[in-house]
Point group: C2
Chain length 158, copies 2
């Protein structure tokens, strides 16, 4: 029997970025993740990885009156699908999940490329990116394919 | 200026599995994810994806007196590294992140393969697995390589 109750999560740090609004989707952008000093020891050895999962909280998103179906990226020509079949920010628990490249780590500050989080977003967890995360034969819907180019370079590569 | 405060998250569902203890690491195991009825519409179109990220809460893990460094998988021959450089369950916010294969979806029940979550774990979010999550040239530490075989087949493949 499952007992449903809210879960309380304390952030481990937060995001610092100069990018505004849709600029955060620029995969070339370099952001900082400030990890709270109490966790600095937990970063030991992270510099040996090239990539990292960042789990962050989309605290700008209201979850009130949330539609359960959306047109991916708001594009009306794409089918209306459930939010759990999209990576939309507008979801019951707006947890962002993004793979970033580690540029450098200076004490408690991680410099990363490709984090699509707004300035001051709370960070919930960071995890190294794994072989197991990578080696998959995947199948996606037709509509997803039409987003592929868009997702990899919102802003022209420098 | 970042204002640090706890975040309250309501689960979207929970895990049902017959697997006990370390059996959950068997990548062949099939678990169920029960999505609460209020979100059933949000599942629309998910069946067109082969793989899914599951974000769940490791509610059996105490975060009191947590060590910030661990030997990966408790193996003393591996270096002592920060928990953020591992996928250890013992981390400040014990959020599980696992890619699973979708076997079938029946109403609000997702049958998935490879979910290493204990029975009745709260599920925080599910997201389709993306090209962008897959296509990476990655670098990992030497010690991580020694886990590679182990991680892919804890229990012999059937």
């Amino acid at each position: 029997m499952f007992h449903n109750k809210p879960i309380s999560i304390n952030p481990i740090g937060y995001v610092v970025t100069q990018a505004k609004d849709s600029e955060v989707r620029d995969k070339n952008i370099i952001s900082q993740i400030i990890i709270f000093n109490e966790f600095i020891e937990a970063l030991n050895g992270l510099e040996e990885f090239s990539h990292l999962y960042v789990l962050f909280w989309l605290d700008k998103i209201s979850t009130k009156d949330l539609p359960l179906k959306v047109h991916p990226r708001g594009r009306k020509e794409l089918p209306l699908v459930g939010v759990f079949a999209t990576r939309s920010m507008f979801r019951p628990n707006p947890i962002g999940l993004t793979i970033v490249k580690i540029i450098k780590i200076e004490n408690n500050v991680l410099f990363v490329r490709g984090l699509d989080a707004f300035n001051l977003s709370p960070v919930l967890d960071i995890k190294p990116y794994d072989f197991w995360d990578k080696n998959r034969d995947i199948r996606v819907p037709e509509w997803w394919n039409s987003l592929k180019t868009e997702k990899t370079s919102i802003v022209k590569e420098k």
